[in-house]
Symmetry: C2
Subunit: 395 residues, 2 copies
């Protein structure tokens, strides 16, 4: 007697998650070393050493009633919010204050909070294929309508012509994810400028507010010196969603934040509503110990070089075998063209060699598969001979 909506959800339950659970099963059958699990974005780079030290310091120094208590505001500790604002200001030349920051239960929490805040039923939210499949569920949670812009599979850059056509009077938000999951592509400044100009024009045309939601958990994970434009600098109605899952390797701890800049129209109302949404969705506040970890580790960085070596080795290895793929510039995903149109069959076939990949259909981009290369370097090396066997089935 579960909800009708949930029946569908259970049926189509996350392919990524199913893979991850399958990977664990395979590992127990064949040994962890003999399974090449590229299914989930669970970082193999450990959290910076200072995270451990800071946690020990915090529980040793602070009054547990304060450290583990409800925060005064549902938006988080004031001093943590100010630290986040200051850090962003230093890095991106912005001028946020603590009030513009809401600490959240990761980016998934942040996205749900902001969508709850802005979406009326049947409001449209535009996404660019390929995109993180969970956006479908998040938008559906608030009875929004997801509008897909089809993929440009040559570059995996946003298809701006189609985008323009899909903006309507019902468009409430765009979700942009750069560096992109699953393609690894970074949208350059010229693309961001075009998107912004388009949105400014369409806002005027329809007399509406269109929010640009920048989902950027991979902001710092970029290679070859590529620059990631900071979107609030380009478009006023931008809301930033961030997570420390990848940048501090803390995905299980559920800590991130929202930025709602002063330039957002009716900023104070949006902030107040997001504060309430954070509470009534059941998050209440972002986990308090982790908020304080963020405060003290604000300048820490993950080991991007580790991911970069993985990227090079996997990209070179796979393209040499005959596979095709746009070289990723950020995040830790590689979006491989399936050698056959039915990429699900390709994924099934790969399992024979204990290789786990996620079908592109999960990202509304069939014909491709996603490899999360946030695994150990040894896994990459050991997987290549197995990919060779897989390639021989097709080329």
């Amino acid at each position: 007697m579960i909800a009708k909506k949930m029946k569908e959800m259970v049926k189509n339950s996350s392919a990524i998650r199913a893979m991850f659970e399958e990977g664990t099963k395979m590992a127990s059958l064949y040994g962890k070393e003999q399974v090449y699990d590229f299914s989930l974005g669970n970082p193999n780079v450990p959290a910076p050493a200072s995270v451990k030290k800071v946690i020990i310091d915090l529980v040793s120094e602070e009054d547990p009633k304060e450290l583990h208590g409800y925060t005064n505001s549902n938006s988080g500790y004031q001093e943590v919010r100010e630290t986040v604002a200051d850090s962003l200001n230093r890095r991106f030349g912005t001028s946020f204050s603590g009030k513009n920051i809401i600490m959240t239960v990761g980016a998934a929490g942040g996205l749900n909070v902001i969508l709850k805040t802005i979406l009326d039923p049947l409001d449209e939210v535009i996404v660019f294929c390929p995109y993180f499949g969970e956006y479908r569920s998040y938008v559906s949670n608030f009875d929004g309508v997801l509008v897909e812009v089809s993929a440009d599979t040559n570059t995996f850059q946003p298809n701006l012509e189609e985008f323009e056509k899909k903006i309507t009077a019902k468009t409430k938000a765009i979700i942009l994810n750069t560096p992109n999951n699953p393609s690894g592509v970074v949208y350059p400044e010229c693309v961001i400028r075009k998107i912004s100009e388009l949105l400014v024009r369409k806002q005027k045309e329809f007399g509406t507010d269109i929010y640009l939601i920048s989902d950027e958990p991979y902001r710092e994970i970029v290679y070859d010196g590529v620059e990631v434009p900071f979107l609030t600098q380009y478009y006023d109605n931008t809301i930033v969603v961030y997570s420390y899952s990848k940048s501090l390797s803390l995905p299980g701890e559920r800590i991130g934040y929202l930025v709602i800049p002063e330039e957002v129209s009716q900023c104070d109302l949006v902030l107040a509503a997001a504060n309430v949404a954070n509470r009534i969705l059941g998050f209440v506040n972002a986990p308090t110990l982790l908020q304080k970890v963020v405060e003290r580790c604000i300048e820490e960085q993950t080991d991007v070089a580790y991911y970069d070596r993985n990227r090079h080795t996997l990209y070179e290895g796979l393209t040499k075998l005959g596979f095709e793929c746009v070289k990723p510039e950020g995040a830790f995903y590689l979006f491989l063209k399936s050698p056959i149109p039915d990429e699900k069959e390709f994924c099934e076939c790969a399992k024979k060699y204990h290789i786990l990949m996620v079908p592109g259909s999960s990202f509304s981009c069939p014909g491709y598969v996603r490899l999360a290369y946030c695994v150990s370097y040894e896994t990459i090396l050991r997987s290549l001979p197995e990919f060779k066997k897989l390639a021989e089935e097709y080329f």
Copy 2:
């Protein structure tokens, strides 16, 4: 341009929260010692000392990639879930296994997960006045209809006659909260039996499933040896929502669990859907470090004697002054009858003496006010002369 639903929510934003923020402001104006803030259930008893030790042990001993990584299942670490199940089985003679437990982001997270799992739009959820006002928002999140059973202000026990009348073919769930927030009353076994019998009968009559959701964050906080019946023992379609916010004084850390017993109809489907709901609502998984803290601190208890002394002193003090109140048997709330019908005016008047209390209207029970006595004993002692001045305005 925020959502219409959220506009209302912002307007009626939690009176409890507003009070809490006001309390902090007053404290900075008059000094913390001169403010008697009974507004929020933020425990003044610190977390057990072992929590600190366990956190240090965990970050020192465990691989950070495992400790802070995504859990294999969105429902949590398997070994944590088994530890919770075993502990419940030992204490209540149940026979849960790890699969029946879903670790959640506190009880607020657990309630949202289970309501998302079961509620279709316009499904009815019955609550007994007075009740935790957040239930309104949680039910509204999924377009359910909250049906209130009016308070029996003589005893604050459920009004069973009215309850029976309010059960319809659209009733999907009952939320029961015992020990109760805000009344502090515990529902005895005879009441639980009557509720169960009624529900069994109504399920048959309507051919429906009616879920009894037992929200029990105060389960262990009881006085005078009062017994709290464990509801899965009385009614098959019972789902338990639990939080460690009060029992381990960790409200900021957001850790709790759901129990979905085998006896629940279509248990496996409900479990699968709740697992998905936990993911798509943006919780993803309960914070991982705290899951492991729960595993190692499963037998820890909070200092109930501390709250008991507060209870006695405050209850005796207030009743001697002429105030009326049902003596609480559990939780750390006291539900005082307002000496004037408009309890909001009474709360405003109390602020003159730096006393903060929450109007009963927040709990759909006007004419009463809630005092959270999870404050320091010294605050209770210092507040009594101020309550005396307040009493003199009325008696």
